[in-house]
């Protein structure tokens, strides 16, 4: 704790605080292409996630007449959220809260098992940046070509390359914004409206905004988003521990570095020689410009591309793979100390996160599977609490809200129990032979005013519990609400 990392000495001219530049221009990074297992995984993740994002709004889901047939739809005007067979009402927003909790827990678990897998593989910033880089590589060539062209003078070729690159980027960015708004309205209709300039202004504004953010974040800002803007690197550092797998340079194996020849010579003499040949491939492929050999650092998004790069080198120089690999700090230390390897994926925190995920997910599934398709709420009139009628009988009034989540109209028989000698009437309907029947339209709620009157004399200061019940005329499904009947 004591030894400070900073030692006072005469500062070199360049490091003087008074001479420090006000701003730092971004170091342009030219990540090199790489092949390997992790790169393949990243391509697959990219294709799947972007595929879902761009095409999901066009997936149809038949919910019957009158209901939207889009599989995933956030219907703001009607205040409904549709997700395949699930339909969320505003008062069920806790499902969305539950999803967020679940997402956070899964993020914690991922982190405990293998560090920032989210950052390296799934984060939208990473995925779109990867896509934009692929476009860049396709048009301007790989690392070396891009560096040469950028350093050289403006030629027709260079201009054509840049124009082409930015056009394709903008096209992707525009499509990204376009896909976003499709989640909020019927996709085919909206596409048509957009094309004929009849869509609501907010749609164009959203598309423009997302085009701009995608283009600037994935095209221009890239690793700066991760290093300067994103809070997650800071948070995740507090969530990780020595057993989490992280992209790690095994310095015990790599050092001292040197060329293949030097290493061979050293080994022949029985002197220590590391496997790292200092070829800088791991640095060249890194999308954030990090040298992983300096250890775990904030800017490293743990994408594993340096692992692929180094493995390719190791294959070439005939050394075992895995000089850079997913490795835990504990295991690295154990190996350095000559102890048996440590592999602990199952440990208190991963057990806890898994248990919480199973619990939260299970709870949500359970409530979702068992939720009723009808509901009833009751509110008692407060002014007046009761009225006396001219014939001496006593009346309480309530506002009942009937909820019908079925996609068909339903008739509910309304009854009230708990008050002796009470008759129930619904304002605006005429009671049938079965009693008061209230119809509620498909996927709707209906509010009715209900009067409960009794001729029986009640004791002074009475407050009787009363149970309202609605029963579906056809299915017999019921829902109840409890309130009070109040007397003088």
């Amino acid at each position: 704790m004591t030894a400070p990392a900073v030692k006072t000495k005469t500062p070199p001219a360049a490091a003087s605080a008074d001479d420090a530049p006000l701003y730092e221009a971004r170091r342009q990074i030219y990540p090199q292409s790489v092949r390997g297992r992790l790169r393949t995984i990243k391509w697959i993740v990219l294709a799947v996630t972007l595929g879902i994002y761009y095409f999901l709004p066009f997936v149809r889901w038949n919910r019957g007449p009158g209901a939207p047939d889009q599989a995933v739809l956030i219907d703001f005007p009607a205040r409904r959220f549709y997700f395949f067979f699930i339909e969320i009402w505003p008062q069920e927003f806790y499902y969305v809260a539950g999803l967020l909790i679940l997402a956070a827990l899964i993020l914690f678990l991922m982190n405990a098992v293998a560090g920032r897998v989210w950052c390296g593989y799934l984060c939208p910033q990473t995925v779109w940046t990867d896509l934009f880089m692929a476009v860049e590589r396709l048009i301007e060539g790989d690392r070396r070509q891009r560096m040469v062209e950028d350093a050289g003078p403006w030629t027709l070729d260079k201009f054509a390359h840049k124009l082409m690159k930015h056009s394709v980027w903008l096209l992707i960015a525009w499509w990204t914004g376009g896909a976003w708004v499709l989640y909020f309205a019927d996709a085919p209709t909206l596409v048509h409206e957009l094309a004929t300039f009849q869509a609501p202004t907010v749609a164009y504004v959203a598309i423009f905004t997302l085009t701009f953010t995608t283009y600037s974040l994935a095209g221009h800002m890239r690793e700066q988003v991760c290093t300067y803007m994103c809070p997650w690197p800071r948070i995740q550092a507090a969530l990780t521990d020595e057993y989490a797998l992280n992209v790690t340079y095994r310095y015990d194996r790599g050092e001292p570095r040197g060329s293949v020849k030097k290493a061979a010579a050293a080994r022949a003499e029985g002197k220590p020689a590391g496997d790292c040949i200092d070829c800088h491939q791991c640095v060249n492929v890194c999308p954030t410009g990090v040298d992983i050999r300096q250890g775990l650092q904030l800017a490293c998004i743990q994408c594993g591309l340096c692992i692929d790069a180094c493995n390719n080198i190791m294959d070439k120089v005939d050394r075992p793979r895995g000089l850079i690999a997913y490795e835990s700090e504990a295991n690295l230390e154990a190996r350095v100390a000559g102890k048996p390897p440590v592999r602990r994926i199952v440990r208190p925190r991963t057990i806890l996160y898994t248990a919480l995920i199973v619990f939260a997910g299970g709870l949500m599934l359970f409530t979702l599977a068992n939720r009723a398709n009808e509901g009833l709420n009751a509110i008692h009139d407060r002014n007046p609490l009761f009225v006396k009628l001219s014939d001496g009988s006593l009346r309480n009034a309530y506002t009942l809200r009937l909820i019908n989540k079925d996609l068909a109209e339903r008739g509910f028989i309304l009854t009230a129990t708990g008050v002796p000698g009470a008759t129930l009437s619904v304002v605006g309907t005429e009671g049938g032979p079965e009693g008061e029947v209230v119809t509620v339209g498909p996927d709707q709620t209906r509010e009715v005013r209900v009067l409960l009157t009794t001729k029986d004399r009640l004791a002074p200061g009475t407050s009787l519990p009363v149970t309202f019940q609605i029963r579906d005329q056809k299915s017999g499904a019921t829902a109840t609400a409890v309130d009070h009947f109040i007397g003088p």
């Binding site: 990392a5 900073v6 003087s16 701003y23 002014n383």
Partner: protein, 293 residues
């Protein structure tokens, strides 16, 4: 400008070769790294934005007013415009209420909920101060939830009462007072009449000498308006004295006060102040409070 650097201790971090700012927390010193360029640009852009904002929008306080800005925008006119838009939007749905009859509205579920929603708001704005938030009434202000209606509780009656009021000065409004009998009857007669009235509603004995005397006083003075049976007459707005529901109170002292001084509460006429459609919605709302009679 140099103050920030005065605290600079000239130290250089050995690991990075970057000088430190001199700020230290728990032995950790802050590196004097420059900011990313884009970050500074955004910062400068916000400053430029602020100047633009000051010029275009109301921003700076002056002694008695403030700068108005070149765009002439202010929140008051913005609200007024939004209100206009809302009214235009409402007008469409209100048309359906305007065109339907009161009975139709009450029989059509969606019209009913529309009328009740509009009526509830109009009631809260205009009627609640006297009749209470839920129409529960107060002393001198009728409870609109019961079935006792001085001037009639049908839809048409309620509409008439809301439109023209009671003793409101409107020619078509309900007239008629409870006459003060203070100078006409003796105190003893008034007391006897009060006893009789109490017995009518079942709140007092009918066979006491006072109540019997009161019956005669009642027949001579009160039956004209309240009817021989005391059940009241709707066309006069006279109260039913037999039902145990009282507007000003049902104890003997209050009844005597009523007979002595008379009563004549005023309900304002709402025609001209509220649109006919709003009055319609209010009528339906009030009618559905207790059903009327």
């Amino acid at each position: 400008m140099s103050t920030a650097h005065d605290s600079h201790d000239g130290a250089v971090d050995t690991a990075t070769g970057v000088s430190t700012t001199g700020h230290e927390w728990d032995g950790i010193r802050e590196l004097n790294n420059p900011l990313p360029r884009w970050w500074l640009w955004v910062f400068y852009a916000t400053i430029v934005w602020a100047f633009g904002y000051w010029v275009l929008y109301p921003a700076w306080p002056l002694i008695s007013s403030h700068t108005t800005g070149l765009l002439g925008w202010n929140s008051r006119s913005a609200v007024a415009m939004q209100l206009q838009d809302l009214q235009a939007l409402r007008a469409e749905t209100s048309m359906r209420l305007t065109n339907a009859s009161l009975e139709e509205i009450e029989k059509t579920p969606d019209l009913l909920s529309l009328a009740r929603a509009e009526g509830r708001v109009a009631f809260a704005d205009n009627c609640a101060p006297c009749h209470g938030a839920g129409g529960g009434g107060a002393k001198g202000f009728p409870n609109l939830n019961d079935d006792d209606w001085l001037w009639g509780g049908t839809l048409a009656d309620i509409q008439q009462t809301i439109t023209h009021g009671i003793r409101s000065g409107d020619d078509e409004g309900h007239q008629g007072n409870m006459t003060p009998f203070g100078g006409v009857l003796s105190k003893a007669d008034i007391s006897a009449a009060a006893d009789y009235v109490l017995s009518l509603s079942g709140a007092g004995p009918a066979d006491t000498p006072s109540a019997k005397k009161g019956a005669a006083v009642f027949a001579a003075n009160c039956a004209v308006c309240h009817g021989a049976d005391g059940k009241g007459k709707q066309e006069l707005g006279s109260k039913n004295l037999t039902d145990g529901i009282w507007l000003y109170g049902g104890d003997k002292a209050t009844i005597m006060q009523t007979i002595t001084n008379g009563r004549g509460g005023v309900m304002p006429a709402w025609a001209g102040r509220l649109s006919p459609t709003t009055i319609k919605a209010l009528t339906v709302y009030v009618h559905t409070l207790g059903g009327g009679q």
